[in-house]
């Protein structure tokens, strides 16, 4: 009886193992994409990070056109909660057509860099720059202070930060950016079927893991192997948060280019709004090493930050300029990548993948398991 039971168990385990297509090495690699969600810790450079009143104020301001100089737009105009806090437009529409696609605003807590070009090393700094950009919200620090003072948000501002009238316009500007950051820190993608698969692998539950669709498993194998995706899309957020040339043209027109990281670093290194600067609330200035030790290189030209793939199915169009309409197109872009578009002396990572139609479909299936995000109210 015991022998029969053991045989039955072996058959069951063998069957479950057969439903998991990944090798032991691929399973080990897969575990590095979790657990999810990560532990949330407050941003020490933002004294209102995690503060419920600040989060509420940030949320209200995010939706309010008072943050644009003429009341023409709010943060949510481009970062639309109904479309994963991104935009369906190819390139963002500010006061003119901007250079880049509107990025989604999920899982932004604690990153090393923000923005396609990495202009900022904190979420509050990244939230500040659009407020005073001539082609976005268009405020000056002075006009923003006046607008907030005259708005219905003034009492809530004073509850969080004290007497607005006695604060300098620069202080008000940074404070507004910090409540916007506090709100955005709360925007996180939920667990997905991939996370259930990954956690089942971690606890050795192959029967449960075997429920993950076979096409998505084959796609994951390609993601880890032939697709070369996991060189840059690493860790629980599926991004190394560094900058790469993805072979997308950086010409904006016949006469204009988007320098990407090259200009991002120049902006960062002349900005007063960094973790090394006086506007950080962290007396220890944790994170200042980033701007102090980062290297500048001519190879930064035309490189852009690796986006997270969490919720990627909901954030079309893709790439820094929104030039690819869907995930199928993204995979085909890398499959047929034109190496002549790449830096001649840049990193040598990408090459045509030589995936067939079934493999392209499988890789897309895997990416879709990373989550489609429901609209936020």
């Amino acid at each position: 009886m015991i022998a029969r039971f053991s045989v039955a168990m072996l058959v069951l385990v063998g069957s479950a193992r057969a439903d998991v297509l990944l090798s032991d090495n691929e399973i080990a690699q897969t575990l590095a994409f979790g657990p999810w969600p990560p532990q949330a810790t407050p941003d020490p450079s933002n004294r209102v990070s995690g503060d419920t009143k600040a989060i509420a104020l940030g949320r209200a301001l995010f939706d309010d056109p008072v943050l644009s100089v003429d009341g023409a737009m709010s943060c949510a105009t481009c970062h639309d909660p109904q479309t994963a806090f991104a935009s369906r437009q190819t390139r963002a529409m500010g006061r003119e057509i901007l250079a880049r696609n509107t990025p989604a605003l999920f899982n932004l807590r604690g990153l090393r860099w923000y923005g396609w070009g990495g202009d900022s090393d904190s979420l509050w700094a990244a939230s500040l720059l659009p407020l005073i950009s001539d082609v976005e919200m268009g405020h000056s620090a002075e006009s923003l202070k006046n607008a907030v003072r005259e708005s219905a948000h003034a009492p809530d501002y004073q509850t969080v930060f004290g007497d607005l009238l006695n604060q300098s316009p620069q202080t008000v500007l940074v404070n507004i950016a910090k409540v916007l950051a506090a709100y955005q820190e709360t925007l996180a993608t939920p667990r997905t079927s991939f996370d259930d698969f990954r956690d089942a692998l971690e606890r050795g539950d192959l029967e449960d893991a075997g429920q993950f669709p076979q096409a998505a498993q084959r796609g994951l194998q390609l993601f880890l192997g032939q697709g070369n995706c996991s060189f840059c899309h690493t860790g629980p957020s599926f991004s190394n948060n560094e900058f790469h040339d993805a072979g997308v043209p950086y010409f904006l027109s016949d006469t204009e280019v988007d320098p990407g990281r090259f200009d991002g670093l120049k902006a960062l290194l002349t900005s007063p709004y960094t973790l090394a600067g006086d506007w950080s609330d962290d007396p220890e200035r944790r994170g200042k090493w980033v701007s102090q030790n980062v290297r500048q290189s001519h190879a930064d030209f035309g490189t852009f930050r690796t986006p997270s793939l969490r919720g990627v199915a909901a954030t079309a169009p893709y790439m820094h300029d929104g030039s690819i309409a869907d995930l199928d197109g993204v995979v085909r872009h890398y499959n047929d990548i034109n190496l002549e578009r790449m830096h001649a002396d840049g990193e040598a990572i990408l090459r045509p993948l030589e995936l067939d139609e079934q493999q392209i479909s499988d890789l897309v299936s895997f990416l879709e398991t990373l989550g489609a995000i429901k609209p936020f109210k």
Binding site: A32, N240, N241, E242, S297, I349
Partner: protein
Amino acid sequence: MILAAIVSLASSVSADACSGYGEPVVSELQGAPDAYVIVNDVPLSQPFSLRFTVCGEVPVTGIQVDAMMPAHQHGMNYDPSVTDLGLGVFDVHGMLFHMPGIWEVRFDITVGDLTFPYIHRITLR
């Protein structure tokens, strides 16, 4: 491409510091002093530190440290910093490997008019 953290080591005179010093590091140059490296943990995309030790009483007057991925033809995106602990021992902080794969850490030490290069390979999963 090889930028590096450079420290002034004008008065640094190495003594025999080679006890409990980690793995030997290879130099392609004959006559290079024995050297060792200790790397405890290399997290992906996060800064880490290592210790480099030059054995024997060798008067090291300079050191440069960098790393690259030969297969990808790129290096690190951040400059590490080097602290001279004396007796031929150097702590290197702010190393950051932003991709999995094989990395080569290169140490160039200056002894008098000579520069000795050392390579230490790390495979990051």
